[in-house]
């Protein structure tokens, strides 16, 4: 199935999902832990994938994912449905990762390759080898550059959003992105 | 803190100077078995229990004017004293109960904010409060089991088996000579080790202080996650110490310093014998709290 058709299908599924999910969200907001559990299961993989990409280790990704959902539970009261829950959770998770990083004293671990067929949720990349190279190259980036690259090119956030999340200016984020891409291009040949 | 209040209440009762509206005086007595059970329920105010040598339970004090009544019943060997409130009470105010019980009685109490003081009772003592303070002065009870949520718990009794718990209040245990189980989640735990044979002290974020001589046959274990643990012992203390902390500092005035457990992990431990040994055994474990062994 080509990319466009897959995207369309995905969005259709999301419509159906959104309807029943709205009910779960409502229940969870009122304190229904089991409803929140269902929401968790629906979004755990997305959040975990993000945390794994940004932290580079499964151990950290687990901690960060937990922290993200705990925070989501607390913040759910303020979620008005103005965005899809997935996007809201995603951004919340990014903030958790960034905050954690500020207080983390650990050195970043090697990026764990996510090129495990069993763990792939959706579309497979066209050329596995190149993806692994890219992830390895990403792991070698300096942290600021890697963060920006992941947030902008992988996760799709805009410069304004990234800048806001990190307390930087868009001038800085753009410069870091250019540098990240240049370094990656040089590393990948 | 309690005593002045109770004294005042008693004084008022004696003086009889209260207008009829304000409070209801209590002055009742019932005969009771010398080794029976006395159950006490009072939501708010104070509860004072003193053991004496008469086969009689007396209750003096003042009942909150809006309380429905004081239940004071004896059934077989069980005496029940309960402040009964009307069904739909909006604001509860305290009733002051000054209770005398046969010294050999077993006492069970339950209050919410009423402070509880128990003195000279030889039977088992068991009870709980939510925010009321608990002070037990003992006379050789076999078993004392008291707990509070936010109140402080103070047990000064030569009991063989003490369990004193609070969630956020402090827990003090003095004079116990058998098994002691003292814990608080965020409050401090202070133990006078004296004659303790088997001690288990635990906090999550509160500190633990153990002081005094150690029983030569004593075994003690103190655990805290982030609270500090301090042992203040006489210079002649004789015991085998095993102190372990994952990330806290360990300081020792009795001899050797703590060493790292491994090159790779942060943990430190100290395993040594002081004063020629003897049977005492002291184990301390913390995650990040410091452990200090100090000479008194």
């Amino acid at each position: 199935m080509d990319g466009l058709a897959a995207d369309i299908l995905e969005s259709t599924d999301h419509d159906k999902l959104d309807e029943s999910e709205a009910h779960e969200i409502e229940r969870a907001r009122c304190g229904d832990v089991e409803a929140f559990e269902r929401l968790y299961h629906g979004h755990a993989a997305a959040v975990y994938g993000l945390c794994l990409r940004m932290s580079g280790s499964h151990a950290q990704a687990e901690e960060l994912t937990q922290e993200a959902f705990v925070r989501a539970w607390r913040a759910l009261g303020g979620f008005r449905g103005e965005a899809a829950l997935g996007s809201w959770l995603h951004r919340l998770a990014v903030n958790v990762v960034l905050e954690n990083r500020r207080s983390a004293r650990r050195r970043s671990a090697r990026v764990v390759s996510v090129e495990d067929p069993a763990s792939l949720g959706k579309a497979k990349p066209e050329s596995p080898d190149r993806t692994m190279d890219l992830e390895r190259a990403m792991a070698d980036l300096p942290e600021g550059a890697r963060t920006i690259f992941i947030l902008h090119d992988v996760e799709g956030y805009r410069h304004e959003e990234i800048a806001a999340m990190q307390g930087l200016s868009t001038g800085t984020t753009k410069a870091q992105l250019h540098r990240a891409r240049r370094l990656l291009r040089e590393a990948l040949g | 803190m309690k005593s002045p209040r109770v004294l005042l209440a008693v004084a008022l009762v004696i003086a009889g100077a209260l207008p009829a509206l304000a409070q209801q005086k209590i002055d009742e007595k019932r005969p009771a078995a010398p080794d029976g059970v006395v159950e006490i329920n009072n939501i708010a105010g104070s509860v004072k229990v003193t053991g004496w040598d008469r086969a009689e339970v007396t209750v003096r004090g003042t009942l909150w004017k809006n309380a429905e009544r004081l239940d004071f019943d004896v059934s077989g060997k069980t005496t029940t004293i309960r402040v009964v409130l009307p069904r739909h009470t909006r604001q509860v105010e305290g009733s002051v109960l000054d209770i005398r019980v046969p010294a050999g009685s077993r006492v069970e109490f339950k209050t919410v904010s009423a402070d509880v003081g128990i003195d000279s009772v030889k039977g088992n003592i068991e009870g709980q409060t939510v925010s009321g303070e608990i002070a037990v002065k003992g006379a050789g009870s076999d078993r004392i089991r008291v707990s509070s949520v936010s109140g402080n718990v103070d047990v000064s009794a030569e009991a063989a088996n003490v369990r004193a718990k609070s969630v956020s209040g402090t827990v003090n245990v003095r004079g116990a000579h058998g098994e002691v189980d003292a814990s608080s989640v965020s409050g401090d735990v202070k133990i006078e080790a004296g004659a303790i044979k088997d001690g288990d002290f635990q906090t999550t974020s509160g500190s633990i202080l153990i002081k005094g001589a150690l029983d030569p046959n004593g075994r003690m274990e103190a655990t805290s996650v982030s609270g500090s643990v301090k042992l203040e012992l006489p210079a002649s203390a004789a015991a085998h110490f095993r102190l372990k902390s994952f990330s806290g500092e360990i300081t020792n005035e009795f001899g050797p310093s703590a060493t790292r457990d491994s090159k790779y992990g942060p943990g430190k431990s100290l395993d040594f014998t002081a004063g020629g040994g003897g049977g005492a055994s002291v184990r301390v474990k913390t995650l990040s709290g410091s452990i200090r062994l100090i000479k008194r």
Binding site: G31, T131 | V167, V225, L287
Partner: protein
């Protein structure tokens, strides 16, 4: 526009961030400059590849129990039932309340395990590895323990309205303290998996939490305390 100027604007061009006039200038240059066009293509490929990386990844172990355990420390949440929910909510809570009564009475098995403080022998299973879930560190008893904790937390949540606000505050504050400590111990266990002292600390701290939850649930079941009417 010269190559140098184009190359320095290429990222923004690919991201569609250039002002219309600059965008046009770059596009014009790219139409005739092979070198710059090659660079543009490789940049596009990189960005496309990066975008493909954004895939969900199933967590290797079930993180829900650990999350559920930490939900108990959230601040008092005022229920905002929407119209259709009013019918279903009370029934659910009634079920939980009944369960709570059963729970407080029937935790003999786990209590027996927990009460024997020094007799507790918690053997980490062979091969407990980095990032393994906490229940693995505590063995099968740990699983039961975490289940009970989850149920008690739910019961407490459901019934805490019956307690005085001041009591709820103390209980929740201390649940937060315990949960933070549990998190710290678990973090330490990740640095030093299989560490028996840490496992011991973990079990002891879980025990304190269960004690606290049981106490809170029991208080909320009490009839005679008069509930929220107390003037503390």
């Amino acid at each position: 526009m010269k190559c140098g100027e184009v190359l320095s604007r290429l990222d923004d061009y690919v991201d569609d961030l250039l002002a219309p006039r600059e965008r046009q200038a770059v596009r014009t240059h790219l139409q005739t400059c092979v070198a710059c066009r090659t660079r543009e293509e490789s940049l596009l490929a990189l960005v496309k590849q990066a975008h493909d990386l954004a895939r969900p990844v199933e967590p290797p172990s079930d993180l829900w129990p650990a999350i559920a355990g930490r939900l108990g420390d959230e601040s008092v949440r005022r229920p905002r039932p929407s119209r259709w929910r009013r019918r279903t909510l009370p029934l659910r809570w009634l079920g939980l309340a009944a369960a709570a009564v059963v729970l407080v009475a029937g935790t003999a098995l786990t209590t027996a395990w927990l009460v024997g403080r020094r007799t507790v022998d918690i053997r980490p299973p062979a091969g407990a590895d980095m990032g393994a879930p906490m229940s693995a560190s505590l063995g099968p008893e740990g699983v039961r323990l975490k289940d009970e904790r989850r149920q008690l937390l739910a019961a407490f949540q459901a019934r805490k309205g019956r307690l005085m606000p001041s009591t709820v505050k103390v209980v929740e504050k201390n649940l937060r303290i315990i949960d933070r400590s549990l998190g710290d111990i678990e973090t330490a266990l990740r640095k030093d998996p299989g560490n028996r002292d840490l496992t011991f600390l973990l079990a002891g701290t879980y025990r304190q939490e269960l004690d606290l939850l049981r106490q809170a649930v029991q208080l909320s079941n009490d009839d005679w305390t008069g509930g929220k009417n107390e003037k503390s």
